[in-house]
């Protein structure tokens, strides 16, 4: 190999090495700080290393009117795949299938929820982590 090529290759290697030391390293998702939700009605669920916080919009949840959720999901390699709700005592769910609108890696907006009667409702959040699907649940009572 010609000495000039060797020298150019070494120079590029040095440049790349220098660039990697001055560029901010991308923070792994698992260690990124988990944002918090503010405002009324924030609730938090925990499963192992998964943290899920949600709050209704509007708050409090109105009976038989559409509402949304602001939701933060934190954990390594986790994705929110489904949100649903039911009334276990009445053996029925909602009449609507909510949709998830990701805002960023951790923040989502869930639309299309409607609790059509007062009483105890169970919210279910299905989270995909690798090959595993994990369900987090929360219960609340509408007066």
């Amino acid at each position: 190999m010609k000495p000039e090529a060797t020298l150019r290759g070494a120079a590029w290697a040095l440049v790349l090495a220098l660039l990697s030391t001055v560029s901010p390293a991308a923070e792994p998702l698992s260690t990124a700080p988990c944002p918090s939700l503010s405002g009324a009605g924030v609730r938090q669920l925990q499963h192992e290393a998964i943290t899920l916080a949600w709050k209704p919009v509007p708050s409090p949840i109105p009976v038989s009117q559409p509402f949304e959720l602001e939701l933060v999901l934190c954990g390594e390699s986790v994705t929110l795949v489904r949100v649903d709700a039911d009334m276990p005592a009445h053996r029925h769910g909602m009449n609507y299938r909510p949709s998830i609108m990701p805002i960023d890696q951790q923040l989502s907006r869930v639309q299309g929820l409607l609790f059509h009667m007062p009483g105890q409702w169970r919210l279910s959040f299905d989270v995909q982590r690798g090959k595993d699907r994990i369900r987090l649940s929360d219960t609340l009572r509408l007066p």
């Binding site: 038989s64 909602m94 009449n95 007062p118």
Partner: protein
């Protein structure tokens, strides 16, 4: 001279009687008030306030709302919208019958399988019809217009009718800025429907004796509360308490606007199932006239977008509003219950075996006493408004069109 004992005693008796006879009415009335627990009061308050904010009628940008309402009212009573020339919207929605028709099953060009619901407060509902197959009054009017057994009409017939009537064409132009001939047939039909929707949006029922009572509860006005009939007070206590009626008949409308299976037979004829909400969702998803369509001028609807059809929707029908209930007999999706007493009896003696497998699990026979059934009926009757029977058509508000040739004589 010292007063005689008998005179003193007589005076005391007279004073006592005077106190009883001429006591402030408020004291006597206050003694008649039924006591409500805190949760019952909270439930009562959730049935108001009334009236709600006026609904927004879905009209295309640039429309003249007043003219659209006037056009809609004229069209509502016009039988020429049906090719047979004898079926108008008002055929099944008669003002003197609280915008119903008093029949078990309505009849357009032929008998249909459903009872005619009132149009009072229809614009406050998110779903229209017993099956919720439309998400707006204007879309529902198109369903009725095109239904082969209701008005059996078509877009082409509607446009022709509009074009052939100088008065209707004048009103159409006042509302939408163009003659009906300048639109294609489908656009003319949708504009007609939107005008009908604008008219229906004006039909918010007046306040009732219950509303006065509810507001008195909110103010803690014991005197005004006590003026509400005692039987109705007891019936209301059953409604929000033992009966749990407010779970579905919720809010100011006395309806949660959704659907339920309450154990009624859902065969529209021997061997023919009325698909109820299940069929309604099919109709909604197939309709080009929803609030998500281009016709809706960006109106949008999160409920239309997210509604999900489920097997339990068979046998479900819309939870009707109980406002004006005593004025809208007969009852249920096919009018199978003739009187309000029959309705109360249905819930009182509910046949749990008839309640379908996925039926509402909170329903169970109420097992009321005869007095309780009367009280519940008495409460429901206070949701009436005598004024609705006196509803009058508005005088022609578009003076440029009134009196044009071809004015319809009624």
């Amino acid at each position: 001279m010292r007063p005689q004992p008998w005179l003193a005693a007589t005076g005391a008796v007279v004073m006592f009687c005077a106190t009883v006879l001429f006591a402030s009415p408020s004291q006597a009335e206050a003694r008649r008030a039924v006591h409500y627990a805190a949760d019952e009061r909270a439930a009562i308050l959730r049935h108001g306030p009334w009236p709600p904010p006026a609904p927004v009628s879905a009209l295309p940008p640039g429309s003249d709302v007043r003219s659209a309402v006037a056009l809609g009212e004229a069209l509502f009573f016009d039988p020429r919208l049906s090719p047979s020339g004898d079926v108008a919207c008002a055929t099944c929605h008669q003002p003197r019958q609280a915008f119903t028709d008093g029949l078990r099953r309505s009849r357009g060009v032929a008998e249909i399988t459903r009872n005619s619901p009132t149009l009072w407060n229809a614009a406050h509902h998110r779903w229209q019809g017993w099956d919720g197959g439309a998400d707006s009054p204007w879309a529902q009017s198109i369903r009725a217009l095109l239904h082969p057994r209701e008005m059996a009409s078509s877009a082409g017939h509607v446009q022709t009718t509009l074009m052939q009537s100088a008065e209707l064409a004048c009103r159409y132009r006042a509302a939408f800025g163009q003659q009906p001939a300048h639109h294609d047939a489908e656009t003319a039909m949708v504009r007609m429907a939107q005008a009908l929707g604008a008219f229906v949006a004006t039909l918010t029922s007046p306040r009732t004796r219950f509303d006065d009572f509810r507001d008195a509860v909110a103010r803690g006005d014991q005197v005004r509360m006590a003026r509400y009939p005692a039987a109705a007070q007891r019936g209301l206590k059953l409604f929000v308490g033992k009966g749990q009626c407010q779970v579905c008949h919720a809010g100011p409308l006395f309806s949660n606007g959704e659907f339920a299976d309450i154990g009624l037979p859902f065969f529209s004829s021997p061997g023919v199932v009325d698909p109820g909400r299940h069929g309604g969702i099919d109709a909604l998803k197939a309709s080009p006239y929803t609030r998500l369509s281009n016709w809706a001028a960006g109106e949008g609807s999160t409920t239309t977008r997210h509604v999900e059809q489920q097997p339990r929707n068979f046998g479900e029908f819309k939870v009707p509003s109980l406002r004006l209930v005593a004025q809208t007999a007969p009852y249920m999706h096919d009018g199978q219950l003739a009187t309000l007493a029959d309705v109360v009896r249905h819930y009182d003696q509910m046949n749990m075996e008839r309640l379908h497998a996925d039926g509402e699990q909170i329903l169970r026979p109420l097992r009321l006493t005869e007095a309780e059934r009367r009280d519940l009926k008495a409460f429901l009757e206070t949701l009436s408004s005598p004024q609705v029977a006196r509803w009058q058509r508005q005088p022609a508000s578009v003076s440029a069109c009134a009196g044009t040739p071809d004015s319809i004589k009624r």
